[in-house]
């Protein structure tokens, strides 16, 4: 019987970069457990030798003509940026304090 603990939900939230609240952990732990129990039925076929389907219409090596076509200008690319500086995206620090 699958089950997702509150701690496990907290771990998933960290992996998914979601700073969830304590109240959300309580709510989501119960709901995710319920959903996982309902979808676990797919495990009925786990042992069967069936090829997996990842895409309804399998296509491989889709190429287009190697032609130059216009992309976004720097101004367009930066237009929706939360913060920009000197014509670039300004982002928060990516290393820890001690680094």
């Amino acid at each position: 019987m699958p089950s997702i603990s509150r701690d496990e939900v907290a771990h998933l939230a960290r992996l998914a970069r979601l700073a969830v609240t304590e109240e959300e952990l309580d709510l989501f732990a119960g709901q995710l457990d319920q959903i996982v129990q309902a979808v676990a039925k797919v495990g009925d076929v786990a042992d069967q030798d069936i090829p997996p389907t990842s895409h309804a219409v399998p296509l491989t090596n889709v190429f287009r003509a190697d032609l130059v076509r216009p992309g976004l200008t720097q101004q367009q690319a930066l237009a929706a940026a939360p913060a920009a500086e000197d014509g670039r995206f300004r982002v928060p620090r990516i290393l820890g304090e001690e680094a």
Binding site: L18, V39, A40, V45, T53, V57, L59
Partner: protein, 505 residues
């Protein structure tokens, strides 16, 4: 003038070309209608009055100059789901994450609409990032069903469907990942079509579950949906999953079907989609539809698709898995919301705070569910098994289409439920997609056409017609024949029975 909003797209286009009415008058009539009723319906997140009138004016100039129409829908107004990008208007996907985001490019579907002279009125409300069956997951408020404003209009494309049923637009675009075009069509008494996967470009469609997402036409008649289908469909080099093949002849099929003859057409009734959990009035409407198809000459057979029982569980592993990957792009760095950037916090902290603030509960649930299903130790049991189920579902379809031309079922197990009724019960909400999901997993074509009102609550019911991949025209033919017969038997189009909305002054 008010009658203009009740005409079909085909009728409007003909009147514009015949100079009976100008495209500007048509656009203005719909803009006025939006102004009068949308405070109650809330189908639109953004109305683009100025550009709509400009586009209509350009069509009128073509007509005046005697230039050939850009398409059979030139001058016809349309409501665009807010998950497709359009320059000069915000694309929010119903999320705070993208509040006020002005995309720097047009979706291929948008571009084709503009080139066809279709008049885009604005962007419609939806469940956040297309995750939901009621529009209650929109960050910008719920859309109300014009048949009963206390009820949901379906989802995720509830805004598009409600715009049609409220006569705010004769055409709309939806996207269907697990039923988001067909289920809203069903509960609003309108027509909704999910084309074969890969036949309408996904370029500029903000991705939720890339192997399932498919844009398609929404309308009040089968022919209007077919006309719109041919405008938006076709191969697109900008979408690497786009199929490089001619579009199925859906308009010809809709016209052929309207002659009302289905002799020799083999129709399979999916036996799995009945019984517990189905509203009696929905089943009664479905049975009446089956009888009507029989009268039109179709041969009805029962078909068992045993793997369809596993479709819903497989979908709620595959779609969240792809969603957890796709929505990783909302990282607060290049566009969209950024929260907590106080010059002390790291990028990772800002990212987590932003995603916490920007996503609603259903999106968070699905991201975490997908993260779980893809994590090592669980991958084989969940995601791997779901992919095997996907194969089994395709095999069931293949076997069924070996003996029948199309498959039918109710579109969704119930009529429109009350706003709030399922909001705190994710599994109950998910069951709205029970009958629509198999076609997404197999990538084939499916549509919903109104089958009347449920005799237990007087609300619209939809008939789902499923066709093999690239055989979309089969469904159109059957739907058009059925629509004509139902209209004749029940005293005109179902949509004429939608209650009058109170008009704001």
């Amino acid at each position: 003038m008010t009658d203009l909003i009740r005409l079909t797209a085909a009728e409007l286009a003909a009147k514009i070309q015949a100079k009976d009415v100008s495209a500007v008058e048509v656009a203005q009539a719909h803009l006025d209608r939006i102004g009068a009723v949308d405070s109650a319906v809330h189908a639109f997140l953004h109305v683009d009055t100025e550009r709509a009138l400009q586009a209509a004016k350009a069509v009128d100039e073509d007509v005046a100059a005697g230039r050939p129409a850009a398409s059979p829908l030139a001058g016809v107004p349309l409501a665009l789901k807010d998950v497709l990008t359009m320059q000069g208007a915000p694309t929010t996907c119903g999320s705070k994450m993208l509040e006020g985001w002005n995309p720097p490019y047009d979706a291929t579907v948008t571009l084709k609409l503009l080139q066809a002279g279709v008049v885009i009125l604005g962007k419609t409300n939806m469940d956040e990032f297309a995750m939901g069956s009621s529009t209650e997951n929109s960050a910008y408020g719920t859309t109300h069903n014009p048949w009963d404003l206390d009820r949901i209009p379906g989802g995720s494309g509830g805004g598009s469907a409600a715009a049609l049923a409220a006569f705010e637009a004769p055409l709309a675009i939806g996207t269907d990942t697990g039923g988001s075009i067909r289920q809203p069509g069903s509960v609003t008494g309108t027509v909704g079509v999910k084309p074969t996967y890969g036949t309408v470009s996904r370029y500029g469609l903000v991705a939720f579950s890339s192997s399932l997402d498919q844009a398609g036409p929404c309308a009040r008649t089968v022919l209007d949906a077919a006309l719109l289908h041919e405008v938006i469909g076709g191969h697109d080099p900008l979408d690497s999953t786009s199929i490089d093949a001619p579009l199925p002849p859906v308009v010809a099929a809709a016209r052929e079907g309207a002659n009302g003859e289905l002799t020799g057409v083999r129709v399979g009734v999916v036996t799995q989609f009945a019984g517990d959990g189905y509203q009696p009035g929905v089943l009664a409407s479905f049975e009446a539809a089956v009888a009507q198809l029989k009268e039109l000459g179709a041969e009805i057979v029962e078909v068992s698709c045993p793997s369809f029982d596993l479709a819903l569980p497989a979908y709620y592993l595959i779609a969240p898995s792809e969603c957890s990957s796709n929505l990783a792009r909302f990282d607060a760095m290049r566009y969209g919301l950024r929260v907590g950037d106080d010059a002390t916090r790291s990028a990772e902290e800002v990212m987590s705070l932003t995603r916490e603030a920007g996503f609603g509960p259903e999106v968070k649930r699905r991201i975490m569910l997908g993260t779980y299903a893809l994590s090592s130790g669980y991958y084989d049991a969940y995601y791997g098994s779901a992919q095997k189920v996907r194969t089994l579902i395709s095999r069931d379809f293949d076997a069924a289409f070996g003996t029948v031309d199309v498959l039918i079922s109710p579109t969704t197990p119930t009529t429109a439920f009350r706003i709030g009724e399922r909001a705190n019960d994710p599994m109950a909400m998910y069951k709205a997609d029970l009958c629509t999901i198999p076609s997404n997993l197999a990538g084939n074509a499916a549509l919903s056409v109104p089958s009347g009102l449920s005799d237990d609550d007087g609300l619209p019911v939809g008939l789902q017609i499923m066709s093999p991949a690239l055989q979309d025209h089969r469904g159109y033919r059957v739907a058009a024949a059925y629509e004509a017969a139902r209209n004749a038997a029940q005293g005109g189009p179902l949509i004429n029975r939608v209650p009058e909305l109170e008009v704001a002054h």
